[in-house]
């Protein structure tokens, strides 16, 4: 890692951004902070691509008839929306961006354990994304992001293999990131940084890394088998030779359910950090939030059958998958209660990140509770494959995860870039996102319950009003995403200088410059206080 310095500008100390210039210093960097920035750019591009497909879906659904495109094309829209959003935005997002940037700093390390593997991970992501883009450009895929067999292996006439290869490759990016985080957290903590003092964001990313490492290989082999079956026309999911399509679903969901915890756990980590800072109060029940992250990671591997209740799977298997699904809600609920208790009698301020945190807590709760409806065997028979499911997972993924990502981006933007964004615009956008989101997805709970099926380009006319509301909401939501993109980029040029710690937050990352120097700290920090040691103003008896 070269630290050749240009002449520092008068007001700029040497930091990781100005340490070296030129495209080679970025594309061959091993600095975790630069790699995080590379990921922020790539993931934003994929998010916009996924968003375009979302707009196409919502445009079609303005009218009950399938009149914008035919059903095959519509199938491609929702497939590409899902594939891009799940595998190329949601799964990598917070770990590869904020996690990469912050985890080493939060534990007082100079970098991740394997910086070159970190860069490799980004390159692998790009290659995977290129395969996905190739599939789109060549004509798309229409199997749904779930690639169910035998349609994906035998009957679909679209570029399944190309897309599956893209996802397979992106999976390795995820695995390597997870591997890096696990080893880093175990082996590179600064003196005094015990497990019990780790920031909850680190706990969250650690638990996520465990899931990435244990689950992703299974979807990798599953998609590899699908690709081989499709390429060689003989395989193991083909009913014609006695293969079982349900086995595909077992193997696929073994990863894809824990994958949703890969998506949400880092978001919960962000919320822990934001809530404690803007309540000026140490997190309530730190051990429970840390432990619940691990609990979600572990129990999350035991519930995948709840995606398969109506497939003909054994009812007995369905029974205990349902029971465990109820159980996995408990650690999530623990977090929500603890965040609320953190805020209780705290000194709360309403900066942009905190607004996103409030949004997260409310919307994730709704999303999570509706998951329980779906996890109940009898109710699921009615709700499965309707828009109720669509609304449920968008509440947790967008209302939860994307809000957490935006909140985290706003929280740590001054640290990453050294600049402040205009908080007025930040708050406005947060409210726009919240309003637009609810307008988009709440009607879908209703239409789903009333019977509108998912993945159809047409619907019964009585659902039109709610669908129009949903599309209108999507436009507002899109605007809510667009405005931060503008002011955040503008802040790079014209934003005010952020100090080291504009929020007055606790944490090692705030004790170094904004932007940080290449090796993060001038001297290895020694940790002497517990996490979130905000000054207590009065001892509150906890009821």
């Amino acid at each position: 890692m070269s630290t050749a310095l240009e002449q520092p500008k008068a007001q700029e100390k040497p930091n990781y951004l100005n340490a070296e210039y030129g495209w080679k210093s970025w594309l061959f960097t091993t600095d975790h902070k630069r790699i995080a920035v590379l990921y922020i750019i790539s993931i934003s591009v994929m998010f916009m691509l996924g968003g375009i497909f979302a707009m196409l879906i919502r445009l079609e659904l303005l009218t009950p008839q399938g009149d914008l495109v035919n059903s095959d094309t519509y199938n491609k829209f929702f497939t590409m929306h899902g594939v891009v959003m799940v595998f190329f935005f949601l799964v990598p997002s917070i770990p590869a961006t904020l996690g990469n940037f912050l985890v080493p700093m939060m534990i007082g390390a100079k970098d991740l354990a394997f910086p070159r593997i970190n860069l490799l991970s980004w390159y692998i992501y790009i290659v995977g994304a290129l395969f996905a883009l190739a599939a789109i450009v060549m004509g798309g895929v229409d199997t749904g992001w779930t690639f169910y067999t035998p349609f994906s292996t035998t009957y679909s006439n679209t570029f399944v293999i190309t897309a599956a290869v893209g996802v397979f490759i992106a999976g390795f990016s995820s695995i390597l990131t997870g591997l890096n985080f696990i080893v880093t957290v175990h082996k590179m903590r600064a003196p005094g940084m015990t497990w019990g003092r780790l920031p909850l964001f680190v706990w969250a990313n650690y638990a996520t890394a465990l899931i990435q490492v244990l689950g992703t290989p299974v979807v990798a082999i599953t998609l590899a088998l699908v690709g081989l079956e499709r390429a060689f026309h003989i395989g193991i999911f083909d009913p014609a030779i006695g293969g079982d399509p349900i086995l595909f679903q077992h193997m696929f969901w073994f990863y894809s359910h824990p994958a949703v915890y890969i998506m949400i756990l880092p978001g919960m980590g962000v919320i822990s950090e934001v809530v404690t800072c803007f309540s000026r109060k140490g997190v309530f029940g730190y051990p429970f939030i840390a432990g619940s992250s691990l609990g979600i990671a572990i129990i999350g591997f035991l519930v995948w059958g709840h995606h398969m209740f109506v497939t003909g799977m054994s009812t007995y298997a369905g029974l205990y998958f349902s029971l465990l699904t109820m159980l996995v809600a408990v650690p999530s609920a623990i977090k929500v209660f603890n965040w609320t208790a953190t805020m209780f009698r705290g000194s709360i301020s309403y900066e942009t990140p905190m607004l996103y945190a409030f949004g997260f807590i409310g919307l994730f709760t709704i999303g999570g509770l509706t998951g329980l409806f779906l996890g109940t065997l009898g109710v699921d028979v009615h709700l499965t494959d309707t828009y109720f499911v669509v609304a449920h997972f968008h509440y947790v993924m967008v209302g939860g995860m994307v809000l957490a990502y935006l909140g985290g981006l706003h929280f740590w933007w001054p640290k990453i870039t050294g600049k402040l964004y205009p908080d007025g615009w930040g708050k406005f956008s947060a409210l726009l996102v919240f309003a637009g989101f609810n307008l988009t997805f709440f009607p879908q709970f209703i239409t789903g319950y009333l019977g509108q099926p998912r993945r159809y380009h047409a619907y019964a006319p009585e659902f039109q009003v709610l669908n129009v509301m949903s599309t209108a909401g999507a436009s507002v939501l899109g605007l809510g995403f667009l405005i931060p993109a503008i002011y955040l980029l503008m802040s790079l040029k014209s934003g005010k200088q952020a100090g080291d710690n504009p929020w007055g937050a606790k944490g090692l990352e705030w004790e170094t410059a904004s932007p940080p120097p290449t090796f993060n700290f001038d001297e290895t920090p020694v940790v002497t206080e517990e996490a979130y040691a905000y000054a207590k103003h009065e001892e509150e008896p906890v009821g």
Partner: protein, 229 residues
């Protein structure tokens, strides 16, 4: 590259700058390799799981396929890999003790046995091709010996080729790793204070051996006593 007289800890030329000392670097590298092997357990585990499901569905069809596997080759290959694991373990031992010649010799032995394994596998694949037992495209598939089992037997043979194929791919990567390690050893890179690449390559090699230890009984020894056809 490195000299053989290296001062321990901080002054090693192999110390990467984000680590505090060589011990942290070694510990991180080995933990990293173990985490990677964890992912490999789940990767192969997916295939073992799918295999188990189908075997429990079609026990007789699966049993009929062992007539077309040659357990002598399978057993021989198992023994070959076990020898290569021994030589690999001895290579790591030699590296830790700074025994340069022994290290290089054991790496060569490991590679030779690894290549022997691949040679036998290639020969087996050829035999299956000749026997019309390759259900992949090109349709070299003929199960007229036991047509009532033909369709599920195709599944078994798919698993046979996928599982041994992925295994062979991992072996090939392993041989490549050994070649790299051997060339580094020739230059005197390794000594008592620095042998990390040898250690972690060893872990990888043993893991690939373990996969085969399970593949052998599961693919070659199903129902060998039953004369079903």
């Amino acid at each position: 590259m490195a000299d053989t007289h290296v001062a321990p800890a901080e002054h090693s030329p192999h110390l990467r700058h984000h680590f505090d000392d060589m011990a942290q670097q070694f510990d991180s590298a080995t933990l990293g390799m173990w985490v990677f092997l964890l992912t490999e357990i789940m990767f192969f585990g997916g295939m073992f799981g799918a295999y188990t499901v189908y075997r429990s569905m079609y026990p007789e069809a699966f049993a009929s396929t062992s007539q077309f596997m040659n357990p002598k080759y399978g057993a021989f290959n198992t023994a070959v890999l076990i020898v290569s694991s021994l030589s690999m373990a001895l290579a790591v031992r030699a590296a830790r003790l700074g025994q340069q010649k022994m290290l290089q010799l054991m790496l060569i032995v490991t590679m030779i046995f690894g290549l022997a394994f691949l040679g036998v596998k290639g020969f087996e694949y050829h035999e299956h091709w000749v026997d019309m037992k390759v259900p992949l495209i090109g349709g070299h598939w003929d199960y007229s010996e036991a047509p009532q089992f033909a369709r599920p037997a195709q599944i078994l043979f798919c698993f046979y080729f996928f599982m041994t194929g992925f295994h062979a791919l991992h072996m090939l990567v392993g041989v490549g790793l050994m070649t790299t390690i051997f060339m580094m050893a020739r230059k005197g890179t390794f000594n008592e204070h620095y042998f990390t690449p040898v250690e972690i390559s060893g872990l990888y090699w043993h893991f690939v051996d373990i996969v085969w230890i399970f593949l052998f009984p599961l693919l070659y020894l199903i129902g060998r006593t039953k004369a079903l056809i």
